[in-house]
């Protein structure tokens, strides 16, 4: 039985605009988050919580809940947008 906190529907809408927040699965959220934070980090999920990790010179592991994962993914998307604007 996977355990997870109740998800923030507003953040789901922002992260996966096409998805229905009532029927979205944890896999959908993790896949979208993975896409957003690559190539800097990788994500894997067990027991409803996710581990965000990176190897190499910045070796780090951090376990987060689904809402925090979405928060980090949305922040990564924002950062990328800001970086693109600066380049222009």
């Amino acid at each position: 039985m996977p355990f997870s906190e109740p998800w923030d529907k507003e953040m789901i809408k922002k992260l996966i605009p096409d998805a229905d927040p009532n029927t979205v699965t944890l896999k959908d959220i993790v896949d979208a988050a993975k896409e957003a934070i690559r190539p800097d980090y990788d994500v894997c999920t067990t027991g409803g919580l996710s581990v965000i990790w990176t190897m190499g010179t910045r070796f780090a592991f951090e376990q987060v809940g689904t809402n925090r994962l979405m928060e980090i993914a949305l922040q990564a998307i924002e950062n990328r947008k800001a970086a693109k604007c600066e380049q222009k």
Partner: protein
């Protein structure tokens, strides 16, 4: 106990001790220990994982993190949990209060913590819940759910192989070097990975299981 021969200071201290004892007893007598734990999902998960093979857990965090409730949850799942402060003043990880310890004290405390942490298979950093988390807290699972999950994992555990696949081996090799692990810590990671795989109901240790087990060795980081 004769209270008449006690000084005012002694009576004040006695009052504080009694209040603390009553708080601990109220937590221990609570029917559902989970109802007293707010926004500590990572700690609950760590205790659930540890409970499968009765691994000892070290909670790492300052005061007022709800450690008594977490220790009570662990003892109901037959697991030992200890609580330790991140620095002598206890505020090193608190984003809302300043830590009064010097860099030298923090460093010697970190070295001491690293020695202590070797006895524990799982280390978990616990932070104080925010006011928003406290006010919007709704219990969405019961202790019975966790107990059932742990019991079925204990039954399934003998079927889980301790072998790691090639991708997992690369991850493990890097963790061993980067975190400066010893053979005992490596064995602990593999055993904790097995517990996680058993909770997942899979017979093999996959990369996500290993990654979760590695992140439970937070205090093994090089100082």
């Amino acid at each position: 106990m004769n209270l008449t021969n006690k000084s005012t200071d002694q009576l004040t201290q006695l009052g504080i001790d009694i209040r603390e004892e009553l708080k601990v007893r109220a937590i221990a007598e609570c029917e559902d220990p989970l109802s007293l734990i707010v926004a500590q999902d990572a700690a609950i998960r760590a205790i659930t994982v540890a409970a499968v093979q009765h691994h000892p857990v070290l909670l790492y965090g300052g005061p007022d993190i709800g450690e008594n409730a977490l220790i009570n949850l662990a003892s109901r799942l037959e697991t030992h949990v200890s609580h330790s402060w991140p620095c002598p003043c206890g505020q090193a990880m608190n984003p809302f209060a300043a830590c009064s310890c010097s860099v030298q004290i923090l460093r010697s405390h970190a070295i001491e913590m690293r020695k202590i942490s070797r006895k524990y298979a799982i280390h978990i950093e616990v932070v104080r819940p925010t006011e928003r988390q406290l006010s919007s807290f709704k219990q969405w699972r019961t202790f019975g759910d966790i107990e059932k999950q742990v019991q079925s994992a204990r039954v399934y555990l003998p079927q889980v192989s301790p072998k790691i696949d090639s991708t997992g081996s690369i991850l493990m090799r890097q963790a061993y070097t980067e975190l400066g692990l010893g053979p005992e810590a490596r064995n602990n990671i593999i055993e904790v990975s097995r517990s996680i795989a058993a909770l997942d109901g899979t017979k093999n240790i996959a990369v996500p299981h290993l990654a979760e087990a590695i992140q439970y060795r937070r205090l093994d980081r090089k100082i």
